[in-house]
Amino acid sequence: MAFALVANFTLGVSVSEMDLSPLKLKMLAWHKWAGMTLLALVTLRLVNRLIFQPPPPEPAPRWQQRAASWMHAALYVLMFAIPVSGWLVTSAAGIPVIYLNLWELPQLLPKNLEWADPLKEVHEALNQALLMLVIVHVLAAIKHHVVDRDSTLVRMLPYLEKRR
């Protein structure tokens, strides 16, 4: 999911810099499909997280515990808000998402071209914020792995061996 998120972020950035072309239209459609898929996955993940308690955090100073839980909350909020904001952009532009060229998703807003640009700016700003948080999140995880030598990082990554 993290990989798909980075990939769709990159796709979104490159498509926004393209001139209008059939390829751009296709890439935009792929970007929307991926975004809607991520929205479904993050929703499942949120439900899962609310039902099942995550394992207790590794021992760390209190300020780090609090920062970590704020960080996790912010990451979830953004992972949810970003695809929704993108959906709002395409709704305001009057271009429904035809998921996988098969299903037309409902429009969240009636067509209103004056709202499309401001909403797009919100979508971009949320992405900027997510990018910053992801950088901090990754740096913190690396710090725990390399400096503190605890299992914070490996427990996020299912294929690594547990550290003792």
Partner: protein, 191 residues
């Protein structure tokens, strides 16, 4: 002197006839020529907000009517700002070389109940092809309402050349729908 005045009168009477032919004008505020197309499966609504018509019509003999309609291609609203910015470009309407798209009727076949098939020629981007447009004519007080829809393939008129010939991104079929309110011209009697 008399001769001069007579001469002026003749010229003056000719001027309006030259400026706009036909015995009906279109009430722009209550008329619309719209179109629908599909980009990546999503339907978008566009409009041709600027057009001019020459309509010679006797409501008692509608099959004798003569209709010519010119649409200003550069003014096309493609329903999306990026598309509107692109639609006058050489790949689409090439509005600099072909400022107008024209439909000119040649034959009108009555089909009953106020319905007619208007046959004629549609010229877009230097390409002229025969076209048959089903229309409906309805009396609204002193006015006449002319409505109709038809489909065309944009590639028949090279609307969207080069990379835009790719119909998997931009569908070939375009649906045109119009509703025109014809108002009798005051300068001439309508029969």
């Amino acid at each position: 002197m008399k001769k001069r005045i007579a001469c002026l009168l003749v010229v003056a009477s000719l001027v309006p006839a030259l400026a706009t032919a036909g015995n009906w004008s279109i009430d722009d505020a209550r008329s619309k020529i719209g179109f629908q197309y599909q980009a990546m499966g999503a339907t978008l609504d566009g409009e041709f907000p600027q057009y001019m018509a020459d309509i010679e019509l006797d409501p008692a003999k509608p099959d004798q009517a003569q209709i010519t309609l010119d649409v200003t291609t550069a003014k096309t609203d493609a329903g999306n700002p990026d598309a509107t910015a692109e639609v006058g470009s050489p790949l689409f309407f090439d509005s600099r070389r072909y400022p107008t798209a024209r439909f000119a009727s040649s034959r009108i076949q009555p089909q009953g109940n106020g319905r007619f098939l208007v046959e004629g020629k549609l010229s877009v981007k230097g390409i002229t092809r025969p076209a048959g447009i089903p229309v409906m004519l309805k009396t609204e007080g002193k006015n006449q309402r002319l409505t109709g829809t038809f489909k065309l393939n944009r590639l028949d008129y090279r609307i969207g050349e080069g990379m835009w010939a790719d119909t998997s991104a931009l569908a070939n079929e375009v649906k045109v729908a119009f509703s025109l309110l014809l108002v009798p011209k005051p300068s001439r009697k309508t029969p």
